[in-house]
């Protein structure tokens, strides 16, 4: 499976009606907030500010409460991401297999730091703390696929396959995100 589902990009009209319908459909569950946020993130790649009042109203809680929950969890980024999300495992078992140099390589290759997106909108880089693939590290997750024993060369190949435009070796921008 090679899923890169996010249909988000800056400037696109947000599907606010869909968000409203999703809130209505999921609010019957006990503890519906995380399932709602996950559903939005799955579709858009992030939680837009505009979703907050819709969720708050649907669940009869304050906007501050919704914000509080969104900001607590690493998964719920509030800015749009690139077409692909690349997560590099930074945890101990992958450290023992060289993830520190892999992350240095990835940052240099993409020209960005963690939580940033390449200027061409292709990749967003994020840290992750264990993917449960600790016997065959270093591990990365590219969208929904997890890869093991990832060398710098292998990472370049994975990024090359995923990219819609050819990757350049230079940093793509000095300040990819302000």
């Amino acid at each position: 499976m090679h899923i890169s589902a996010q249909d988000s990009s800056v400037g696109t009209d947000l599907p606010l009606d869909w968000i409203q319908a999703e809130v209505a459909a999921l609010k019957v569950k006990p503890g519906p907030l995380l399932p709602i946020l996950h559903s939005i993130r799955d579709r858009l790649g992030y939680i837009p500010e505009e979703a907050v009042p819709i969720i708050a109203e649907g669940l009869q809680i304050t906007r501050a409460e919704v914000h509080g929950v969104i900001s607590f969890y690493h998964d719920f980024n509030t800015a749009p991401i690139g077409r692909h999300r690349l997560q590099i495992c930074r945890a101990e078992a992958c450290q023992a297999r060289g993830c520190r140099s892999l992350e240095t390589h990835a940052k240099a290759k993409l020209g960005i730091d963690y939580h940033q997106t390449t200027a061409d909108g292709e990749f967003t880089l994020e840290p992750v703390y264990c993917l449960g693939n600790c016997a065959t590290g270093p591990s990365v997750r590219l969208d929904n696929d997890i890869h093991g024993r990832v060398t710098a060369k292998r990472l370049d190949a994975l990024l090359g396959q995923a990219a819609t435009v050819p990757l350049t070796l230079q940093p793509l921008a000095e300040e990819p995100e302000s």
Binding site: P30, P35, Y73, D75, A91, E92, L131, I146
Partner: protein, 531 residues
């Protein structure tokens, strides 16, 4: 038709199992060979993944690790007959010493069956435990679990039977609550510890066992609903669990009337959202309720006031997965394994810089060295082993002088270490233990729930202090400060996140002091992460 198995667990997939399967189908089609391809779970011999197995008259024959480009030669050299000769030939799977020497109770079916085939599950002894449980009253089920001596596998090692008893006895009436009179089973599948994947493998290789264990727990305490709180870092487990739950519902193993017993049990997977602290049970419950995952002050115990304010069993995946065996074979059969007060088996997870990484399920009591050497085969890099972190990011780094400690909760605690969830992370001699201590503090700073000042602020201070030690700025004073910070974290933290972060830091200081006195102008052993 020859049956061939290609695993579909995360690790096999991460090493190209899908490509192997595709190449195999293509190769067979080209050669007009009729095969039935089964996507099994993994045996947990991750060093051999993708491990391809073929069913023959002599049992299942293993080949691994197979790359897609190996397939044509394998087929031409008699793969379908299980013929030896090819360098990847491993002989009968069950005879591979790594597997043969294990005592598999929880992982007895892992890799043998198709994880989402209920028929397979039942053919291999599945649902015997539930049927026996249905013939018992609730107290008898709880008694069986008590007899087994099973202790929680999530880290704290609390006796499962005693927890269940508390929930069974709890008064579930809560005036004005829509959940009044209800109880819940919550499976902790947050498995956040680096160096662990046993929960994942249960869910990906044998999900019905977890479903059965939770159903039995429901019968034991009178709960009609269960939640599996699964970390979002496990997309494959998520998919397989959902498939398995749907099948169990279709045929009445889950639902309003479990096996026509008149008892209901419903099960739902809930995804976490990338927060380590949500593995802590009270934080997990808040998260499940849709709140910030902050740790609750105990009491009240979750057993009395847990999910949605109702009495709740919170157990780790492995704890619940041990239950079908206990009910099927009897609590005593389980208690017959182990040592001291650590009964039964624990799936140890060999990870990091290790030649043969994977799941090794054994009775408690084996020494760390036996695991590292006999099973693990030393480091993957071929360099000397230097430090081993057991029990996740809050566990101590153990030097070679401690490797003869038997894996037993009490024996480990005597040397200041923890068994935890059984994760074992191996480092070779290129490791810089100052880097590791720094990471422990950094991780605490990133993952703290924010409730306690020492944990939230002290950990960030810890990173700064370690950076000064590295830079040789007032090194001796800062080393004292670091120890003081560890004391403050230990004393002033509500939960083990802050309270146990000192474990890796102190053990690094105590057993690997040289790394804290390096000349700052020379590079450290490893490429350093610049903050």
């Amino acid at each position: 038709m020859t049956r061939i198995y290609v695993p579909r667990d995360t690790t096999a997939l991460s090493l190209g199992a899908d490509e192997v399967a595709a190449k195999l189908e293509q190769g067979c089609a080209e050669r007009n060979l009729g095969v039935e391809l089964v996507r099994n779970g993994s045996r947990g011999l991750f060093w051999l993944e993708p491990l391809l197995e073929v069913e023959t008259d002599q049992g299942r024959i293993a080949y691994g690790p197979v790359a897609p480009e190996d397939i044509p030669a394998l087929l031409d050299e008699g793969l379908l007959n299980g013929r030896p000769g090819h360098p990847l030939y491993r002989g009968p799977t069950e005879e591979i010493p790594y597997l043969k020497k294990q005592q598999r109770l929880t992982f007895a079916r892992a890799g043998i069956t198709d994880p989402v085939s209920l028929d397979d599950y039942i053919r291999h002894g599945g649902y015997v435990g539930l049927r026996k449980a249905l013939a018992k009253i609730a107290q008898e089920i709880v008694d069986e679990v008590k007899t087994s001596g099973l202790r929680g596998r999530g880290g704290a090692a609390f006796p499962a039977g005693i927890k269940w008893q508390t929930v069974l006895d709890a008064d579930a009436r809560t005036p004005n609550s829509p959940y009044s009179k209800r109880k819940f089973i919550v499976c902790n599948a947050d498995e956040g510890d680096s160096g662990t994947f046993a929960d994942r493998l249960v869910m990906e290789a044998d999900p019905f066992m977890l479903i059965e264990g939770m159903t039995i727990a429901g019968l034991a305490v009178g709960a009609d609903t269960g939640f599996i709180y699964l970390r979002s870092e496990y997309p494959v487990a998520h998919q397989i669990l959902n498939e398995a739950i749907a099948r169990a519902e279709e045929v009445g193993y889950l639902g309003d009337n479990v096996l026509n017993s008149g008892k209901a049990f419903h099960l739902e997977v809930r995804l976490g959202a990338g927060a380590y602290i949500c593995g802590e049970e009270t934080s997990l419950l808040d998260s499940l309720e849709g709140k910030r995952g902050q740790v609750r002050v105990k009491p009240p115990l979750p057993a009395l006031k847990g999910a949605f304010g109702q009495p709740t069993v919170v157990n780790n995946v492995l704890t619940l997965a041990a239950v079908p065996f206990i009910l099927a074979e009897g609590g005593q059969a389980y208690a017959d394994y182990g040592m001291g007060r650590s009964r039964g088996t624990l799936p140890f997870q060999l990870t990091g810089n290790i030649e043969r990484g994977g799941v090794v399920e054994l009775a408690f009591g084996i020494t760390l060295r036996e695991l590292l050497e006999d099973f693990g085969g030393g480091t993957a890099s071929g360099r000397p082993m230097r430090a081993v972190q057991v029990g996740g990011p809050l566990g101590a780094y153990m030097p070679e002088s401690q490797w003869d400690t038997p894996l037993d909760y009490e024996a480990f605690s005597e040397v200041g270490a923890v068994v935890g969830h059984g994760g074992i992370v191996v480092f070779d001699d290129t490791v810089d233990m100052l880097d590791q201590a720094r990471f422990a503090m950094e991780f605490c700073a990133i993952e703290s729930c924010g409730k306690c000042t020492p944990c939230r602020i002290g950990s960030t201070r810890g990173v700064e202090v370690i950076d000064r030690i590295r830079a040789n700025e007032q090194r001796d004073d800062n080393l004292i400060l670091l120890r003081d910070l560890c004391d403050t974290l230990e004393d002033g933290s509500l939960c083990a996140m802050g309270g146990m972060t000192p474990n890796p830091v102190r053990s690094a200081l105590q057993y690997f002091p040289d790394d804290f006195y390096r000349d700052p102008t020379t590079a450290s052993n490893t490429t350093r992460e610049e903050a």
